[in-house]
Point group: C2
């Protein structure tokens, strides 16, 4: 337990936080008959809806790294649950627009809304300078992860010694 450990505790805190958020999402999902993928899709759809963007199955599948078949299945599930609705794009009739139903908004609101409210309330206990520091910190960490993600892709054939073990 030396001073060098402090940053390491932050690393574990970050990991712990993501685990908690994942669990939170997973529990919410299963409680509502959703799969983790469905929840990710719902978040994406609500974000896009709020931003006024049109989402098609193609875009959604791309965002979630699903192929077309998987995307169709996902959209089927969400539609069956009454969370979204398919509608052909009148401009380009090959496309299908995914429209978010009221129920999806309520679902997202009723659950994430509560969490976000709690998070915001907790943030009020920090002064603006501290929040600015936290933000800078989070942005820096996010940047590192994003960069590592791309490095990893490029090095995909690199430092993978794990061979010949059995």
């Amino acid at each position: 337990m030396s001073e060098v450990e402090e940053p390491m505790r932050l690393v574990h805190l970050l990991r712990g936080l993501t685990v908690e958020l994942d669990l939170f999402g997973a529990e919410f999902a299963s409680r509502n008959g959703l799969h983790p993928t469905d929840l990710r899709a719902l978040i994406h759809l609500l974000d896009a809806s709020r931003a006024g963007e049109v989402v098609t199955p193609g875009r959604l599948g791309e965002a979630l790294h699903l192929n077309s078949a998987g995307t169709t299945g996902l959209v089927d599930r969400l539609e069956r649950l009454g969370l979204i609705r398919r509608e052909r794009d009148p401009q380009d009739r090959r496309r299908v627009r995914l429209l978010v139903e009221e129920r999806a908004m309520e679902l997202g609101q009723g659950f994430f809304g509560g969490l976000i409210g709690d998070l915001l309330a907790e943030m009020r206990r920090f002064d603006p300078a501290e929040l600015a520091t936290a933000r800078r910190f989070l942005e820096a960490m996010t940047g590192v992860v994003t960069a590592a993600r791309q490095d990893g892709r490029e090095e995909a054939a690199g430092p993978t010694p794990a061979r010949g073990s059995s």
Copy 2:
């Protein structure tokens, strides 16, 4: 636009960070022929190994919210990949100890080692006071999520708690 938006950006940053970390893990997993669940299991096993704790299929399945059949399948996969080894507990021969192989350590190192190093390096750009603030912030946010998780459970449990069926 307004100052009220600043905390909201922090909320989105938190979410964005978890998404990035998830993607990082998912990409690493698929690159190594692992499933997301396998990676979570690996993390759990490595943590326990470092802490000197004995992990059994039962404990592992409990930690990952898998039932016994799913756990057996998971352990089969990890064993087939040469990441762990089964060994009967000589004290209580009903039990199976899961022993982490060298290869799993290397894999974990190749995965986290690089990322953690990068995160620590980035943290050096913050002074101790800032890191302390970041830590306080992360702890506060984690606490909120954890609390919300339990609240959600209790609300959903309702009239029939039916605990013990995890």
